[in-house]
Symmetry: C2
Subunit: 135 residues, 2 copies
C-alpha cells in the first residue's frame, strides 16, 4: 500500500483519490503553497476536484498534525508538509516563504507557557529577501 494511503488510515480518514492527489502534490514541497495554489495545480491533473475538498482535506491534515499551517503570509494561509520544528522567512515584496535554519534556544518540547498549553510554535522573520533586494 502506498505510504499516502497509510497516512490517511492512520489518522482515521477514508482513502479517496482526491486525498491521495493532495498528499502527493504537497509531499516534499518546500515552497509553502497556499490552498488556492494547491487546488489550482491539482485540478490540472485531476479535473473536477473541488475547492471545498482541498480545503477540507488540508484542514483535516493540519488537525491531525500531518502538515503545518503557517501564519506568516498576511494575505492567506500557507501550508508546510514538514512538521518538525523549523522557522520561516516571509518576503513582503515577492511573497515567497523560505525555510530558515537558525539556532535558537527554543526547546521543541515546551508544554506550557504562562499556564497556557502550547501545541505549536512558529518563529517568523519578515522583510525583503535576497533576490528582491538585488532589484
Amino acid at each position: 500500500m502506498e505510504s499516502e494511503a497509510k497516512k490517511l488510515k492512520k489518522i482515521g480518514l477514508k482513502v479517496t483519490p482526491q486525498r491521495l492527489a493532495i498528499l502527493q502534490r504537497i509531499k516534499g514541497d518546500r515552497t509553502h503553497p497556499s490552498a488556492e495554489k494547491i487546488y489550482h495545480e491539482i485540478s490540472q491533473k485531476f479535473p473536477g476536484i473541488s475547492f471545498a475538498t482541498v480545503y477540507n482535506t488540508l484542514a483535516k491534515l493540519v488537525e491531525a498534525g500531518e502538515i503545518q499551517e503557517l501564519d506568516i503570509d498576511p494575505n492567506k494561509k500557507r501550508f508546510d508538509p514538514y512538521t518538525s520544528l523549523h522557522y520561516h522567512f516571509y518576503c513582503k515584496t515577492c511573497g515567497k516563504v523560505y525555510d530558515v535554519d537558525f539556532d535558537v534556544s527554543l526547546t521543541p518540547n515546551i508544554q506550557k507557557i504562562a499556564g497556557h498549553q502550547v501545541e505549536a510554535i512558529q518563529l517568523n522573520f519578515k522583510g525583503v529577501c535576497k533576490d528582491c533586494a538585488k532589484r
Copy 2:
C-alpha cells in the same frame, strides 16, 4: 500638543480627528484587537468614521513602525501598539492573543538571515489558553 498629534507629524501624516481617535483607542491596549474591533468601538464615540479610514490609518501606522501587525490569528490581522520585541500566545479556542514573556536567545538586532534582510520578527505560540483549558 498631544503626544498623538506629535506622533502623526513625526511620521509625516496629517493630523485628523479620526486618526487621533484611532491612536487613542489602541494606546495601551494589550488585547491585540482586530481592525474590525477597533472600527466598531471607535464608531460608538465617533459616529461616521469609516472602515476604510481605520484600515488605511492602521496600515500607515504599521508601515511607519508605530504599531505592529501580528500574523497569529488565522482569521484576521491583529494589531499591537507595543513594538518592542515580545512574543504572543494565540488560543485557538477563544481567539485571545496573550503577551508572553519568555527568555529566548533572540537578539532583537538580527539584520540578515540566510542573506535575507530582516525587518520584523514574530514568535508565536498556539494552543489552548489557561482559561479555556479549565472547561
